[in-house]
């Protein structure tokens, strides 16, 4: 299971890394990046789901849930 960012939609709102710094970081332009390959454990699933809801561009998704 992993979190992914769709860069066709991401416009650098920065909510993902502001709210969930365990799952996302920022780049120099303020765009979000998944940490590592975005893999998450079951214990991070709630956080990941909240990140999906928090993104105003609907750019965050969970793969393999």
């Amino acid at each position: 299971m992993r979190v992914v960012i769709d860069y066709e939609r991401c416009t650098g709102n920065g909510r993902c890394y502001a709210l969930f710094p365990d799952l996302f970081g920022d780049d120099e332009s303020g765009y979000g990046q998944v940490i590592g390959d975005g893999s998450i454990g079951d214990d991070q699933l709630d956080e990941a789901r909240s990140a999906v809801v928090a993104c105003p561009e609907d750019a965050v998704a969970i793969e393999g849930e």
């Binding site: 416009t11 650098g12 709102n13 909510r15 332009s29 303020g30 105003p56 609907d58």
Partner: protein, 399 residues
């Protein structure tokens, strides 16, 4: 066939009862439907689905055409007055200049400036949050970012407010004082472009001037960009700051919870931004016939994206009309969305946070001055309070 044809309604945005209560105002707007044509011909998109559709199709919903038609300013306001693909070049450069990392590096300076403004009235027992803080601080932050002297603050505030007061009343002809203000502001910015070309500093203006070759910006591009910051990035933060402090003044329980648990500040800021968006609508013009939520909008139509109603979509929030920290961070549209998402959003959020943190350090208990009713100006391009007088106990004269 592209959706159903509909007739214009009798809706006029100015009729929305927005001044005393945005809930009543936005409900009035939504009551006409999720996509409808106002009496003046503008198409109103009120649902989250409709607004998101528009911001995600910038080639159909042109920001350039809408901005250039409405601004009355003879140079393009960069980057909102630019459509894709040219838009990307500007945004790539600007995003990195207003990213959270850049704001982080400025935080100590910006915090000190907020504290100094608040300290100036902290022992007086009363203040006007709008006049003494919210009108001044965003302009200081702008001057700091662009490497201009803070001493010029009041001059800048005067020019910008004169221009905005007139641009939002919808009158076609700008009076002489508006022309004078715009000319003053253009001249001021041009002076600093010239100065920083000679003697670069560590600021946004100098960094833009340092771009070379195909990436280099012309003076006109620089002017348009600086001008946009002043007309879009100052009164909006003033508005948001007024509404945030108003909410905290009217809700002492929430304020005390917040002081006890500072992690609530982010959620409180997001919720007030959602419920009280300073820019209730943003403008676009259709470049082709398009169907939105089953309704056909012809090419060349003016369109207003209603961020305020999209932010209160029933079903998406448990209490759509209330500031409720338990439902914060569900993706509001106050900063717009898509490629034109507010460039200053990271900075605006930081300004709001620093002001509340520093205010509460010096003035933890306060209330709206007895008898004063903090109503918003309406109709207006930017929702804002003109005044928010607060009264508060003064300490023992120490500090």
């Amino acid at each position: 066939m592209l959706g159903k044809m509909t007739a214009p309604t009798k809706f006029q945005l100015a009729d929305a009862p927005m001044s005393a209560d945005r809930t009543a105002g936005f409900r009035f707007v939504s009551s006409f439907g999720e996509v409808f044509q106002a009496a003046n011909g503008t198409w109103m998109l009120t649902s989250a689905e409709a607004v998101k559709f528009a911001v995600r199709h910038p080639e159909v919903f042109s920001s350039a055409e809408a901005t250039n038609a409405g601004s009355g300013i003879p140079i393009p306001l960069i980057p909102v007055a630019v459509d894709p693909p040219a838009h990307r070049k500007y945004r790539l450069v600007l995003d990195s200049m207003f990213a959270p990392r850049v704001v982080n590096a400025m935080e100590d300076d910006l915090r000190t400036q907020a504290r100094d403004l608040i300290a100036a009235f902290a022992n007086k027992g009363e203040c006007d949050v709008v006049g003494d803080l919210a009108r001044l601080y965003p302009t200081q932050v702008f001057l700091t970012f662009f490497g201009m002297p803070l001493d010029d603050r009041d001059q800048l505030v005067g020019w910008v407010e004169t221009m905005l007061d007139h641009s939002t009343t919808g009158t076609a002809e700008a009076g002489p004082e508006v022309v004078e203000a715009a000319t003053g502001l253009f001249g001021y910015i041009q002076r600093f472009i010239d100065e920083k070309r000679e003697r670069p500093g560590d600021d946004v203006l100098s960094r833009l001037l340092a771009l070379e070759g195909d990436d280099a910006w012309s003076d006109e591009e620089m002017l348009g960009c600086c001008f946009l910051f002043t007309v879009a990035g100052l009164d909006t933060v003033t508005g948001a700051m007024g509404f945030l402090m108003r909410h905290l003044a009217l809700n002492p329980e929430l304020r005390r919870q917040l002081i006890a648990d500072p992690t609530l500040l982010g959620p409180v800021i997001e919720e007030t931004l959602r419920v009280e968006p300073p820019a209730p609508t943003i403008s676009r013009t259709t470049t082709q016939d398009v169907e939105v939520c089953g309704v056909r909008i012809p090419a060349g139509s003016p369109v207003a994206l209603c961020l305020g109603t999209a932010n209160r979509e029933p079903g998406h929030w448990e209490h759509p009309d209330d500031v409720d920290v338990a439902q914060a961070d569900r993706g509001h549209m106050t900063f717009g969305g898509g490629i034109h998402r507010c460039l200053g959003s990271h900075l605006a959020r930081r300004e709001l946070r620093l002001v509340v943190e520093e205010f509460h350090k010096l003035i933890p208990e306060y209330e709206v001055a007895p008898g004063f009713d903090p109503v918003a100006v309406w109709p207006a391009g930017t929702l804002h309070l003109t005044s928010l007088p607060l009264v508060f106990p003064v300490g023992d004269g120490g500090a």
